[in-house]
Amino acid sequence: MIEARGLVKHYRSTLAVDNLSFDVRPGTVTGFLGPNGAGKSTSMRMIMGLDRPDAGQARIDGKSYGHLRWPLREVGALLEAKAFHPGRTARAHLAALAASNAIGRRRVDDVLAITGLEQAADRRAGKFSLGMAQRLGIAAALLGDPQVLLLDEPVNGLDPEGIRWIRNLLKNLAAQGRTVLVSSHLISEIAHTADALIVIGQGRLLAQTTVAQLSARASSLEEAFFQLTEGVTDYSGSL
């Protein structure tokens, strides 16, 4: 369970997140949806304690991230695609993170297998393609077998087979009763995996709904999304 309450974040004069509140419940995949620049990444960073909100708070199972006792065992996150040192091998990267939360070495082999990185495990991660880097990030997120997962645009750089793999992975994780929050700026992508939806624009909550409810609003899911986000897109082009 993730609870965001009244989150506010300014970057200099721009308001990135504006009094944002939402709940992410366990047992389903929740899509975190909004146009580019809507504040999705900033919100996720505040949940993770990487950015400090100017106001409001985010809690994970009732606790702020900074008060988790074994953070990696409670929350797994994929925020930036390449959150690793390019000179370290995938295995060394995961083993270092595992050590910080007293996670056994066998689990490193497990997550390398889950993400299909066994063959690449002893190569330096700086040589990885974006898709492999993304898999390494997902491996790190799964390391502590956490009940809560946050993934920022996880399909970025994945090939079609990889995209299908991650959809199934996320559904399975949610089916096991975990809390899964996945951000995307593509409604069509998120509709494949998510049931619940949190839609934001210009840092504000536009809707906390479900894919089914949203698609009932208009002729198509995409149309419904455009109606919802109309006027809050920062960079709208015209023909």
């Binding site: 304690g49 990696l72 930036e80 050590a99 910080s100 889950i114 299909g116």
Partner: protein, 271 residues
Amino acid sequence: MSTATLRHRDASPARGSYGFRTVARMEWRKLRTIRSTWYILAVFAAAMIGLAMLVLKNENYAQLSAAGRASFDPAYDAFLGLVLGQLLLGVLGVLAITTEFSSGMIQATFAAAPRRPLVLAAKAAVLGAVTLAAGEISAFAAFFAGQAMLKAPAPHATLGQPGVLRAVAMAGAYPALIALISLGIGAIIRHTAGAICALVGMVFVLPLLFSLSNSLRDTAQKFLPDTMRNSLIAVKPVGHLLSPGLTFGLLCAYALAALAAGAWALARHAA
């Protein structure tokens, strides 16, 4: 890629929490799985030992004046390599934190261990232990290799002579303290190039500037690390220097201050 392995049955401690011990284990793994760590330590050892041998091999004691012979300090002369060595271990200290920011690794680190001052403390402990070990091994090796190069009639230094053991031990500790100061600088500046500039400024440029002014040279220069190095490793007394004990204490205080400022900066800024 089956999902059967998603749930792992790790005999994991449900009690307790992450802390200094587990985070230090992570930092030790991080430091030793980067190749540049070992390159830097190898170059450091080679510079320390090689320069000691070179300097003492070319020492021409027989032709020194009486005054030159009186101030001849074969222990001190064995540690010319520290001029370069302090910079090398300083760079290691800077890189230990700035590469985390340049690569994005810092996010993974702070996600694993959100208490940022604790992370810096663990980093400092691991870096301090590794650089102290490398420093002491290299200092003793440089000392013995250097003395072996000295030709008669030059007097050799031995560890039993007054002040010599202190000089050798301090020659090993000094670059480790510079590494810790540099880790603090890296945590404050968070960019590799900027932090290395600050390190070079502290070690090389400030002494140069201070030496241009008579008043600074006599009063303030003795508080600069590169000058303090001389006080730590000199066996024969030199003018305008603090005592070795005071110097060591002050350098430890510098390192603590730099790390405290670094911890404050890490806690304050977004990762």
